[in-house]
């Protein structure tokens, strides 16, 4: 049993003529916190969307616990337009493009860059609804309350999860009435309710001050310990990334430019160039 949780192999995402993600390969191992960083527009969220089934990558494969879950090669109209490399590598593989809900069922849950809680629902209902995907009841047993035991178990688990996240005191409040930081935390709790093995966090610290960011980092580490999840996150706060992640992947213009431990990445000249720009010699 390998401890490899997620592997992206040569993922390329091309929109029309624009290559948003170019030949990206990365690995996330069991129990790690891995950060994906890069300047604005580098293609980080696009990479996330390729993993979670929102986009269908133009070329490449995604494996989860060594099982291929997404696979594609340039076909149809893309065959002529394709600008990336490795165009022939996956031609003999079966095309796999599951919808996001199927990916989540396999054990990959995500949060969003701009918070997407269910607005008309309370804190409790938000988490409870996320438990729906593993419910065994069908629509009849659920409507006529035949599967009452399962419903009760779901409610108990939800209450427990909220208690662990210190959100139980807000259980009957509307999710959108919570302060911003707590909404972020609720979104993570909701993702955890789907019992994932891998958690994808898209800019969890966006809009937070340094102290909140620090707390969030500790919270993420806590989650990893408590629920045994592996974490892949996109983040812009460098202190958070450097302090808490085990591995860092840096991408710029869709290409992987560096990866390794925080110390290695920090020292990499290409990373510094990507963030600060290159000094032109003639200038």
């Amino acid at each position: 049993m390998s401890d490899n949780v997620l592997r992206l192999s040569d993922i390329t995402m091309q929109f029309g003529g624009v290559v948003a993600v170019d030949n990206l390969s990365l690995e996330v191992n069991e129990g790690q916190i891995v950060a994906l960083i890069g300047p604005n527009g580098a293609g980080k969220t696009t990479a996330f969307n390729c993993i979670t089934g929102v986009y269908e990558p133009t070329n490449g494969q995604v494996s989860f616990y060594d099982k291929v879950i997404v696979s594609n090669y340039p076909h149809g109209k893309m065959k002529k337009l394709y600008k990336g490399s490795n165009a022939d590598k996956y031609v003999h593989e079966k095309i796999l493009n599951p919808t996001p809900d199927k990916i989540t069922r396999k054990g990959i849950a995500r949060t969003f860059q701009n918070i997407r809680l269910w607005k008309s629902m309370t804190v409790f209902e938000n988490v409870l609804t996320a438990k729906h995907l593993h419910a065994k009841q069908n629509i009849f047993t659920s409507t006529f309350r035949i599967s009452h035991a399962e419903e009760r178990r779901m409610r108990e688990e939800t209450a427990l999860l909220l208690e662990e996240q210190d959100l139980l005191r807000f259980r009957d409040e509307l999710a959108t009435s919570l302060p911003y930081g707590l909404q972020r935390r609720l979104e993570i709790a909701r993702a955890l309710a789907t019992s994932p093995k891998l958690l994808l966090l898209d800019e969890p610290a966006a809009g937070m001050n340094p102290q909140e960011t620090q707390e969030l980092g500790e919270f993420i580490v806590q989650i990893r310990e408590k629920y045994g999840v592996t974490i892949l996150m996109i983040e812009h706060h460098m202190d958070l990334v450097m302090q808490f992640s085990d591995q860092i992947y840096v991408i710029d213009f869709g290409e992987l430019i560096s990866h390794g431990t925080p110390a290695v990445v920090q020292a990499d000249q290409r990373v510094i160039d990507a963030y600060l720009g290159v000094v032109e010699e003639d200038a």
Binding site: P100, D101, W118, L133, I139, S142, T143, R145, E151
Partner: protein, 373 residues
């Protein structure tokens, strides 16, 4: 909300429903059955069911569908054809130009359920292509399908089944409803209230279940719902099928109430009437749809009737004539929409428990309204 509170709420609701049914029984015993009150109550209850089933789709799943009249038409026709006695089918009195091919007759309740199932089957087939569309496009596509259904039912070629564009009648109607195992007639208004009530209660139970929460999640944020493992197409299809099932049953009830059925009656205007009820009552509120329905029917058919009589004069002006009712009615609707932009009930539900609690407290304290279950 804890389970204890929930149980109390259910108990109060049951008491409320029982009181309502007893009032109907008493009304039917005391007031002559020809009174317009009963036709308003019957039609109101039928439209309540149609509106609630539309609300399940538009208000709770966030699918803007305008196919309601089409599914009611299927239900009405299925019911009428199934319950028509075989002797009448074979004689010339209804199927004048065609030979009816349905050579059997079913009971009243089974026919009603089958009417719903046939509507649900059509919904399943229509849903396959249509539910991949979003918002306005979905509305246009469902509207189109409802019109196609209406046209097909009037088509000559399937005349042996639907009697072409001609009227269907002499099937089992409200006067044929009897008490079980006897020939004693069942009070017609009560019958409609019970059937519509059971259907609405089932929809309410569905909405409170795990699947109902998934529907609401799709309404609130489709992308988040999908990312949390809720299969969009599967759940939309479920909601569409169930909504159409109950629309079919309300169509069956409507055909019982009207004694005759004709496809030309189920026009787009009917869908708009139901949509109007849903919007006035509050998108996402079941009790709102019911209240809206009774108000709409009462205003349309009863309370504003006097405006149509040209013998009534106000300030010596002779403005009242047939059709003036509609002018006043439109103004009332505009006022409601202006002052209650979310409908009469918004997204809340009537809670008898809350009313009782408020009466007990006596002091009208600023009530916690969000507790709406």
């Amino acid at each position: 909300m804890t389970e204890k509170k929930d149980k109390k709420e259910v108990l109060y609701s049951l008491i409320g429903i029982a009181v309502l049914l007893i009032v109907i029984i008493i009304l039917e015993k005391t007031i002559p059955s020809t009174s317009i009150l009963f036709s308003v109550l019957k039609k109101g209850a039928i439209y309540s069911l149609a509106a609630v089933s539309m609300n399940l789709l538009n208000g709770f799943t966030g699918l803007f569908s305008l196919g309601q009249a089409g599914f009611m038409l299927i239900g009405a026709y299925a019911y009428a054809i199934l319950t028509m006695p075989v002797t009448i089918k074979l004689s010339d009195s209804v199927y004048k130009y065609y030979d009816c091919i349905v050579g059997f007759q079913l009971g009243l309740i089974p026919s009603m359920i089958i009417a719903g199932l046939i509507a649900a089957l059509f919904a399943f087939l229509i849903g396959l292509p249509v539910l991949r569309l979003k918002s306005d496009y979905l509305a246009i596509a469902t509207l189109g399908f409802a019109e196609i259904i209406r046209a097909i039912f009037q088509w000559d070629t399937i005349g042996p089944l639907t009697n072409g564009a001609n009227v269907l009648r002499k099937y089992l109607d409200l006067t044929d409803v009897t008490l079980p195992f006897s020939n004693i007639p069942f009070p017609p208004t009560l019958f409609i209230f019970i059937v519509a009530g059971i259907c609405i209660a089932i929809i309410k139970m569905l909405i409170d279940s795990s699947y109902g929460r998934a529907f609401k999640a799709i309404r609130d944020d489709e992308i988040a719902a999908e990312a949390m493992g809720i299969g969009l197409f599967k759940h939309k299809e479920m909601s569409f099928i169930i909504s159409s099932f109950f629309a079919g049953i309300s169509g069956a009830l409507l055909s019982m109430y009207q004694y005759t059925v004709q496809a030309s009656q189920f026009k787009t205007a009917m869908t708009y009437e139901i949509l109007l009820i849903v919007v006035i009552g509050g998108i996402g509120s079941i009790s709102g749809s019911c209240i809206g329905s009774f108000l709409f029917i009462a205003c349309n058919e009863w309370w504003l009737r006097f405006l149509d009589e040209s013998s009534n004069n106000i300030l010596g002006l002779n403005i009242m004539r047939s059709g003036f009712r509609k002018v006043v009615f439109s103004i009332i609707i505009m006022i409601i929409v202006l002052f209650f932009s979310k409908g009469i009930m918004g997204e809340k539900e009537i809670s008898i428990k809350r009313m009782v609690d408020r009466l007990r407290r006596k002091k009208p304290k600023p009530a916690v309204e969000e507790g709406a279950k």
